[in-house]
Every structure is written in C-alpha cells, then in structure tokens.
C-alpha cells in the first residue's frame, strides 16, 4: 500500500481542521439564533438585576447555614 503515514496525517489535518471549523461555525449559528430567539421572546433586561439578588441570596444562605449548624 502506497499511502504513507505522512499522507494519512495530512488527510487527518485537512479533515480535522475542516471539522473543527464546521462544528464551531454551526455553534456560532446556533448560539446567534438562540440569543436572537431569547431576546425576541423575553421582555425587558433580566441579567443585571438578578445577579445582585443572587449575591444577596448567597450571603443569606451562608448565614442561615451557619445558624442551622
């Protein structure tokens, strides 16, 4: 068989980089679509306010846990 190891490697490189790009391109598309759908069907900003709430909840939980102990 004349297919050398090097040729095999070359093919794997081409296909491999191709597959990486195809996969990540699909992911770019999927992510963009998902974000677009979420933003379209969610009224108002829900990110910034929530974080502060979570933080307060975390501290509250820590205190509660301490008390329970």
């Amino acid at each position: 068989m004349e297919v050398t190891l090097l040729e095999q490697g070359l093919e794997l490189m081409l296909i491999g980089m191709g597959a990486v790009f195809v996969f990540l391109t699909t992911l770019v598309g999927g992510t963009s679509l998902m974000s677009w759908l979420v933003q379209r069907f969610t009224p108002g900003a829900d990110s910034s306010g929530e974080v502060a709430d979570e933080e307060i909840a975390a501290i509250g939980a820590a205190i509660a846990q301490h008390r329970r102990k």
């Binding site: 050398t4 980089m17 990486v20 996969f23 992510t31 910034s48």
Partner: protein, 376 residues
Amino acid sequence: MDLILQIWHGSGLYQLTFGQALMIGVGLLLLYLAIVKKFEPLLLVTIGFGGILANIPGVEIATGNGLLHLTYVVGIESGAFPLIIFMGVGAMTDFGPLLANPKTLFLGAAAQFGIFATLLGALGLTALGWMDFSIREAAAIGIIGGADGPTAIYVAGKLAPNLLGAIAVAAYSYMALVPLIQPPIMRALTSPEERRIEMVQLRDVSRRERILFPLLLLLLVALLLPTAAPLLGMLCFGNLMRECGVVDRLSFTTQNALINIVTIFLGLSVGSKLAAEQFLVPSTLGIMLLGIVAFAIGTASGVLMGKLMNRLSSNPINPLIGAAGVSAVPMASRVANKVGLEANPQNYLLMHAMGPNVAGVIGSAVAAGIMIMFTS
C-alpha cells in the same frame, strides 16, 4: 551486621540510578517553577511532587499496589479524573463573553491548527527516521497544542498511555510558560496599529441564554461528534449546574472540594508516570520539542485569524485576542490584555479575550473528539 547491610542495600542511596537522580531534579525544578515563579502551581506542585515520589528507588507508591498507581488506574486510565476536572472547569467558566460575541468562536477554531500541524510534525519526524511515533501517538502529541491539560491527559490516556507522562508535563509546562512563549509571536505578526485597536463593549447576556448555551452545545456535540461528547458533555453539565441557579450547592462543591480533590490525585498520578525508565527516553525530547512548536503555531494561527476577521468584520477586532484561542484559560487572556496595554494604555482586552479563550477549550475538545474518532 546482616541487618545493617540490609538497611544499606534497601536505602535509596545504594539503589539510586543516575536517571532517577536526574528526574528528582526535574521534579524539584517543577516545584521551583510552581512555587517561586507561580507558573500553574496547582498542577506543577502536584505533578512535581508525584515525579519525585516516583523516582525514589525501592518505594512502592507509584508502582504495584502503591497509592499513586491505584489512583492512576482508577482515575487516569479510566478517563475519570480529566472528565471530572472538565465538569469543574465548566462550573467555573463564564461563557458570557462568548455569548456576547459568538464570532470569537472562529478564533478558537483557528488556534487548533497548532494541534494538527503538530500531528503532522510528529509523523514527519517519524518519516525522517528521527522518532518512531504511530499515528495514535502523533495524535496524542498534537493535542498538547490544545493548551488544555485535562483534554491532553484524556486523549493520551486513550490513544498513547505510554506517552502520558511526557505529554502531560509538556502540556502543563508550556501552559505555564504562555506569558513567555506568546508575546514575541503576537508582536511579530501584528502592526502597532492593530495592537492598538479598541473593541466595542460587550453586551449583557441574559440568564436564559446562559442556561440554554450548555444545552445547545451538548446537543450539537451529540448530533455531530459523539466522540467529543464525554469531555464536552461534562463541561456542559458543570456549566449548566453553575448557570441554572437551582443547584448552587452542587455547583459550589464541584468548583471547590471536588475539583480540588481530583486535582491533587490527578497531579500525583500524572507525576507517577515520570519514573526515569519511562520518561528518560528519546521520544520525550521529541514531545517537548513538538509541544512548543504546537503552542507557537496555535498562537500564530489564532492571531492571523484575528487579522482576517478584523478586515472582514464591521466591528473592529484586535487580532491579539486571537492568541487567546489556544485555551490556557485565563492566562492567555491576561497575556492578550498585557500586550494590548503595552500598545495602548486605554486598551483593556481582558473580557474580549475571554471569548476566544473559552472557545479554545471547546475547540480543542472538538479536535480531541476527531482524533479519537479517526485513530481508534
């Protein structure tokens, strides 16, 4: 007197080979880099110490029924430790910057060229007769270019367990050396004007998008590349626990006790593969050499992709963030930020670089899946 002779014959001094002494030195060097230079200390302290233990003659800890051999079999050969680490990485990763600018995934894709170029390099060295790597071994060596420790260990465990020690040491050492390896390449490939480019501030990303992203990624992997699903599945699971907001106690333990415990035993187990007779072979030299080439090519292709995207995109893209596409989270982002600040003191690239940086983790797991699919 017999007993004293027995002590002497049982002692390390009597049994120590030159190779073992050398490897104890290597272990001490790794500890020095970790403790004094603060390079990747979580892994270099544990691997370095494990390496010293593995080279004490007459001690049964890295072999036979020794603890480190058992953890190696249970945790590394089975793939369990890297997968659990990936779960922890997922629980610690904020995909927000990536979601705010998904196109940075292309930078994470481009930087994987280092992986495949190194694969080819390893086969080239074999063709030249300088080394003797099979295609599976070459694939495992290439993954060093992914700049992602658990991925490299996972792939090496599956494709080339005999090279695991050298591959893991190369991967973590070069990740530790990212602040030295990357800047010259980044400067050589970009003009001062390009390095000065400021980027548009990232938008806020909603909690809903953050929850849906790991599920989307999981489904894509499931449908397109199942061999990457163990790694990326655990990453997605960790990230879902982090973002979903209803299992905070599991997420907290995953990010702390669990990943710390596994890191300790993963490091010691990997170190236990640094026994002189396994590590001091010509192929290790080849792996160390190929590994740094992989990092350099990965950095370069990330930066070049950044230049290309900057020309094609409507919003400006600073090509320096392309270098973060190799993974090595968060070190590579910090390097991009630092080199950017040198050129423009107002230019904070850190958050922009986090997008390609975490994209690089995904990208190298995808490349790992492809390697496993084609060579096993």
